[in-house]
């Protein structure tokens, strides 16, 4: 029997950096009784078919012309997953059509790619299950995802420093205890993206920033930052008369009260990424009440 596909955990950055989709060869199809899935190979070597993400829905649009086609942005600390639900995902479509923005959601779905003629690749999620969740699940998802991603980065680093390639590398990784699909994914990713330490370091930085965005009051991040965040939240509450706060004015006011533009930017970015505020229009910030 065919094992159920794992729902992989990965951040939006790694997902959106992926452009390499592999289809099963006809030979594999024969062997697995026609059930070999498509995989999206990420630059860090994950072969994703199904994934599980938790984030903030910041936009929902019905972009369909004849039939409903709902598009949603689900934001994690590193970027946004695009979710499309059309007539063949009726439950998710109904869910999105009534969902309030912003809210925390969990999404189980399949990785899809759209490759228009010009060679660009767009990745998205076709949802199987969606639900509203709370902030604690979002935080825990970030931690889980960071742990699993770091494991993968370390395996990839090890692969790079081994100097091996192809089937030799695959063998080496499996001997080192890597799951078969990861070993295969790393070999493929290395061939296709030429992933190097630079990319892995960038991903590590994204992990670090994500972790720091978690509920700052209890995760041991400096009191300085917590102070700044409270200050900005207070300021926004003060300035918001119902239509949100103009970003430029916020920076100006904060500077007037002794906070640098840079610091405001850091705080606002973290507020946006952990869903405490959102941008209903570009340049306008609104708090999540």
């Amino acid at each position: 029997m065919v094992e159920r596909e794992i729902s992989y955990r990965l951040f939006a950055k790694e997902f959106n950096d992926s452009t390499f989709n592999i289809h099963p060869k006809s030979e594999q199809l024969n062997q697995s009784e026609g059930r070999a899935p498509n995989f999206l190979v990420t630059p860090a070597g994950l072969m994703v078919n199904r994934l599980f993400v938790v984030g903030v829905v910041t936009e929902i649009d019905n972009i369909g012309t004849e039939n409903d086609l709902w598009r949603a942005r689900v934001v994690d600390p590193t970027g946004a997953f695009i979710v499309y639900a059309g007539q063949y995902q009726p439950e998710a479509a109904v869910f999105l059509s009534t969902l309030e923005v912003p809210s925390y959601v969990s999404v189980v779905g399949k990785a899809r790619t759209f490759e228009p003629e010009d060679g660009s690749v767009f990745v998205s999620i076709r949802p199987e299950e969606m639900n509203v969740v709370d902030a604690s699940i979002r935080d825990r998802w970030i931690v889980d995802t960071a742990e699993l991603t770091l494991d993968r980065i370390n395996t990839f680093s090890d692969a790079l420093s081994s100097g091996l390639k192809g089937s030799k590398l695959n063998e080496y990784l499996i001997k080192g205890g890597a799951p078969e699909s990861l070993a295969e994914g790393i070999v493929l990713a290395f061939d296709y993206y030429h992933t190097g330490e630079g990319y892995l370091q960038g991903l590590k930085t994204a992990l670090r920033d994500s972790l720091k965005s978690i509920d700052l009051t209890c995760s041991g991040v400096s009191a300085f930052e917590v102070g700044n965040q409270e200050f900005i939240l207070g300021l926004m509450e003060e300035m918001d008369v119902g239509k949100g706060v103009d970003y430029g004015k916020l920076i100006e006011t904060a500077r007037f009260r002794g906070m640098s533009e840079n610091a405001v930017e850091i705080v606002v970015r973290s507020l946006l990424s952990n869903g405490q505020c959102y941008e209903p229009k570009i340049g306008i910030l609104k708090m999540v009440s």
């Binding site: 029997m1 799951p179 041991g220």
Partner: protein, 439 residues
């Protein structure tokens, strides 16, 4: 016609290396008889025998339904059997094969003139499920080579049961020895072939795992907390979960823990098991008393308020049991979910009591809702709303069914371990050396 075929057969034999020329010829002739064009026939024959370099397996790696592999071992037992195969009387040979990693039963569908003690290598062998274990099958299409006698230890050595840790017991163990502690024990009256028997059931454990056991003989002086050494206990498999059977051929001795070094205590065994990554749980078809934490990524149909047959407990629809026909029914509640932690996915079954805990409503409340405001389907939808995406910790036994590995939960909890600690550990690993944190 033969002389026309000869060059083609030669070509195929060359391409296929060590496949028997006669077999190739037969295959080719059969195809030509059906007027398959020569090129197509050759292609088919090539494809059929191509993978003549078969992957090599050891007995411990066997799983049911494996095809075309090579395996070697020594014949421990072999017996000739006359059977009726689709109306034709025929002879098969069944017995036991062993290597250093374990033993397994086999059936040879063709006379390879094998005898007890032969060291053999079987090419193009397969397995099927027999008594819940993989059984080796080989026949006309297989090739059996005799190996030099020193290829494997002798029969006595291979049949001697070396002591095993409970975690390592699997399909390839027919009979084992181990040292373990009794952690649960109860007497049970059963009726077998019109005879009343008293048997003992319970759970034993060591520092690696716990397993259920059944004793068909009295165990004097053995009680909960006893450390026992048993030799020659037979192992039964059910859905991938081993159970230890003690019978008149098993020697059971009580070990005095103060005289021998025992790497476990009653406390260490009775502790709650540490949660394992699901990917690791899936490596074994069945595990006794394990724990996992993951997200409920799906609540499966069949969850909610269900009807059961009062005779056999099966789930029934429209008051008709598959086995007992039209019948009364009683209400029950259950939840079937898929738990996934990013390393693997396992089905989890929750009984009524646990369903009530995770759903947050009792069965009676749910029944009341059905009477007043909701349909049965809406209860299922409501469960999905309450549960999908949530974190859940579960503890129970796993076994392999036709739907993959299933964990039947005995307890559940909401994971509340401190994520602050995990965050600071991760940040430590991620913090580049020398970076100015205040920068």
């Amino acid at each position: 016609m033969d002389y026309k075929l000869a060059p083609h057969i030669e070509e195929l034999t060359k391409a296929l290396g060590n496949t028997n020329e006669r077999v190739i010829q037969e295959e080719l002739e059969t195809l030509l008889k059906f007027r398959v064009p020569m090129d197509e026939a050759k292609r088919t024959v090539l494809r059929k025998f191509k993978s003549n370099v078969f992957p090599v397996k050891q007995i411990k790696d066997l799983s049911s339904g494996a095809k075309t592999f090579e395996i070697a071992g020594r014949i421990i037992e072999i017996e000739e059997k006359a059977i009726n195969l689709r109306g034709n009387a025929s002879t098969i040979f069944s017995g036991t094969l062993a290597d250093e990693t374990g033993t397994c039963s086999f059936t040879a569908w063709f006379d390879f003139s094998l005898k007890r003690g032969d060291a053999i290598c079987i090419k193009n062998s397969s397995t099927r499920s027999w008594h819940n274990r993989p059984e080796l099958n080989f026949g006309e299409r297989s090739e059996v080579l005799k190996l030099p006698d020193d290829a494997f230890p002798n029969v006595e050595e291979l049949t001697r049961t070396s002591p095993k840790k409970l975690h390592d017991i699997g399909y390839s163990d027919m009979s084992i020895s181990a040292v373990a502690m009794v952690v649960k024990l109860y007497h049970k009256n059963v009726k077998i072939r019109e005879r009343n028997m008293k048997i003992i059931e319970g759970v034993i454990g060591d520092d690696t795992a716990k397993l259920p056991f059944t004793s068909w003989v009295p165990l004097p002086d053995v009680d909960i907390g006893s450390v026992v050494r048993f030799d020659g206990a037979s192992v039964r498999m059910f859905r991938g979960l081993p159970s230890i059977n003690i019978n008149e051929n098993t020697s059971v001795t009580i070990v005095n823990p103060s005289l021998e070094e025992i790497p476990f205590t009653f406390e260490s065994i009775s502790q709650k098991p540490e949660p394992l990554p699901i990917g690791q749980i899936l490596l074994k078809d069945g595990l006794f008393d394990v724990a996992a934490i993951g997200n409920i990524i799906s609540v499966r149909p069949g969850s909610g308020i269900i009807q059961r047959c009062p005779v056999c407990n099966r789930v029934i629809q429209k008051n008709t049991c598959r086995v007992h026909g039209p019948t009364e029914s009683f209400q029950d509640m259950r939840i079937k979910t898929i738990l996934d932690d990013g390393t693997g996915a396992v089905s989890v079954m929750l009984n009524r009591e646990l369903s009530e805990i995770v759903y947050g409503k009792s069965m009676f409340e749910a029944e009341e809702m059905i009477r007043t405001e909701m349909s049965r389907d809406e209860i299922f939808e409501d469960m999905k709303r309450v549960l999908t995406g949530r974190y859940l910790g579960v503890r129970g036994n796993t076994s392999r069914t036709e739907f993959g590995v299933t964990l039947v939960a005995e307890s559940v909890w909401s994971p509340d371990d401190d994520i602050t600690l995990r965050v600071s550990n991760l940040l430590e690993l991620l913090e580049p050396v020398g970076e100015n944190i205040n920068g």
